[in-house]
């Protein structure tokens, strides 16, 4: 017994000295980038990142229900980067939160939809009608501006407070005459034969600006290489998804569980992108001004620091 104990002790002590000769050195674990995304077709690009991310990195996608949740995840550093509507980023920056826009993610994705059998053909026909709008959304800012351009205001319609996911159902049931929705709601209304597009509200000075990529100020200061990497990956992934619509539909159906017909009908209204172009910067500034006038924010964000195009410009130069 005593001999056995000694033998065990000796083996135990010798093991750490001998083992390294036989054990292969462990490979360094890949750097995991946490990416917040919304459960929308506009936010599908990160699910393609795996194909383009360089060796030594991996991406963990954390889905969020609302843009505000995505923005808060960036501010609290629960994620390294997030993609959400420009409105959420402006709301945060206006409250002096350290959220910085570093790239584009998706333009378009909105539509004004009416029942197919209704006499609503233009925005002016919405006068006196029940129109579903989600307060505080990008779509609300766009429709208010479009109404203003038509010489109307919110008082000329009957706004009904409905979330995006309920809008197609509300239109089908006849609870509302029209809605200002986000894809794939309009796609669902089109594919089911219930709805028709009244207009895509992109004729305002805000263009079709919708979703961006944002990061915490500290992330950009401490790990700028990650910011460049994520913008470059977004460039490849968005270009791939846009040139392979079937795969984009399949990915959206597989990852977000949406109806295939609705997603397919939404495709022509979704423009995945990556670069924060000077035009988009200009549109974002107009957007912030609109939000201020609507009293959704109390002050403009610091526009000199709120948008940082360094990484997007750098990728554009080397692309």
């Amino acid at each position: 017994m005593r001999t056995t104990r000694r033998a065990l002790l000796a083996t135990g002590l010798a093991a750490p000295l001998v083992a390294p000769r036989f054990i292969r050195p462990a490979r360094a674990a890949p750097t995991t980038i946490r990416m917040g995304a919304l459960k929308l077709i506009h936010s599908i690009t990160p699910w393609f990142y795996d194909r383009f991310i360089p060796a030594g990195y991996s991406v963990e996608i954390i889905p969020f229900e609302s843009p505000t949740d995505g923005k808060n995840a960036v501010v609290t550093k629960s994620v390294d980067f997030g993609t959400f509507g420009i409105a959420a980023a402006i709301l945060g920056a206006a409250a002096r939160e350290p959220v910085i826009v570093i790239g584009g993610s998706c333009n378009k994705g909105m539509a004004v939809v009416a029942r197919k059998d209704s006499d609503i053909a233009t925005l002016k026909d919405l006068k006196g009608r029940k129109v579903a709008i989600w307060p505080g959304s990008t779509q609300e800012v766009f429709i208010l501006e479009r109404l203003r351009m038509e010489g109307m205001s919110i008082k000329d319609i009957q706004p009904v407070r409905v979330s995006f996911s309920e809008m197609a159902t509300a239109l089908a049931r006849g609870d509302v005459d029209a809605y200002v929705g986000a894809e794939p709601g309009p796609g669902l209304s089109l594919s089911s034969g219930v709805g028709k597009i009244v207009e895509y509200p992109y004729s305002t000075p805000m263009g079709s600006l919708n979703m961006i990529i944002a990061a915490h100020r500290d992330t950009l200061a401490e790990r700028p290489e990650l910011a460049r990497l994520i913008i470059d990956t977004q460039r490849h992934a968005s270009a791939y998804a846009m040139s392979h619509p079937d795969e984009m539909v399949a990915m959206t159906v597989a990852k977000l569980g949406m109806k295939k017909e609705a997603v397919a009908a939404s495709l022509n209204n979704v423009e995945l992108n990556w670069q924060m172009t000077p035009e988009m910067v200009g549109e974002a500034k107009i957007y912030a001004q609109q939000m201020l006038e609507l009293k959704q924010i109390r002050q403009l964000p610091d526009l000199a620091t709120f948008i940082d195009t360094r990484f997007s410009d750098d990728v554009a130069h080397t692309a």
Binding site: T68, A88, R96, S163, E166, Q296, R298
Partner: protein, 263 residues
């Protein structure tokens, strides 16, 4: 100790923990250049602006009364609707074996389904609007009333039946004269819990489809990153729920003066 001194001590004890929490909240949020959780002062200002307006002049200013009235009407209306169904059903299930075998398994199966899970279905059945919100709040209040009524009816002391029979109460009169009064404490507990749950689920009920209500206000504020209004809404719901509970408690104490637990 005199009665006023006792009341003062009780008030001091009741406010001690909230004051400590308030102090910790203030310490944790003061001097921050930004904070996702606003300091208490911002919430107080938001609450004032919600109630009286005149500070921010935005979509929320001066709207508290409208939202509170909308929510209170839904809470009390839905609570009454829930009580209308839950009380007779609970008495039936508690008193009759056949009703218990027929209904109890179904209700026990449906009871764990959260109100949030009913939201999409209620939108489809009742449409966009206050009816769906009304249904969801009533559903939240229904089960606590039902379960406590069943419990109250079933836990009547068997000796009471013997005593009543000896005093000449006929079998047909046992339910109104013995069961119902003896079950009242349980029923009141159910009503109290039901009204509390109605306030709990009001935010879910008003999440979508209605223009006014504290739940709608909180969801809109969340969308706009106005956390100070979210917290102000929470405080208002807490106070309204507390006052409702005190009212039911006072009513119970008055009607159940004979009961050693409630009188």
């Amino acid at each position: 100790m005199t009665a006023p001194a006792q009341a003062r001590n009780r008030a001091l004890l009741a406010t001690a923990i909230p004051v400590v929490c308030l102090l910790a909240w203030w310490l944790g949020t003061r001097d921050n250049p930004y904070s996702l959780i606003p300091p208490p002062r911002d919430v107080a200002v938001a609450l004032w602006d919600l109630a009286f307006g005149g500070i921010y002049d935005d979509a929320f200013s001066g709207t508290l009364a409208t939202h509170l009235l909308a929510s209170a009407s839904r809470v009390y209306g839905a609570f009454l609707l829930a009580a209308l169904f839950a009380l007779p059903l609970g008495m039936l299930i508690g008193h009759l074996r056949l009703a218990r075998d027929l209904l109890d398994p179904m209700f026990q199966l449906l009871r764990p389904v959260p109100v949030t899970a009913w939201l999409p279905l209620s939108m489809i059945i009742f449409g966009i609007g206050p009816t769906a919100a009304f249904f969801l709040v009533a559903l939240g209040a229904f089960y606590p009333i039902l379960v406590n009524t069943v419990f109250g009816v079933r836990s009547v002391e068997p000796r009471l039946f013997e005593a009543a029979a000896m005093l000449g109460v006929r079998p047909a009169a046992m339910f109104p004269k013995v069961v119902l009064p003896a079950a009242m404490p349980g029923i009141f507990t159910g009503l109290r819990l039901g009204l509390g749950f109605a306030w709990v689920v009001i935010v879910v009920g008003e999440m979508t489809g209605v223009q006014t209500g504290l739940g709608a206000m909180i969801m809109d504020a969340r969308q706009l990153s106005r956390t100070e209004i979210v917290i102000a809404g929470m405080i208002v719901i807490g106070i309204a729920g507390y006052l409702s509970d005190r009212a039911v408690q006072a009513l119970g104490a008055r009607l159940l003066r004979w009961s050693p637990q409630h009188g």
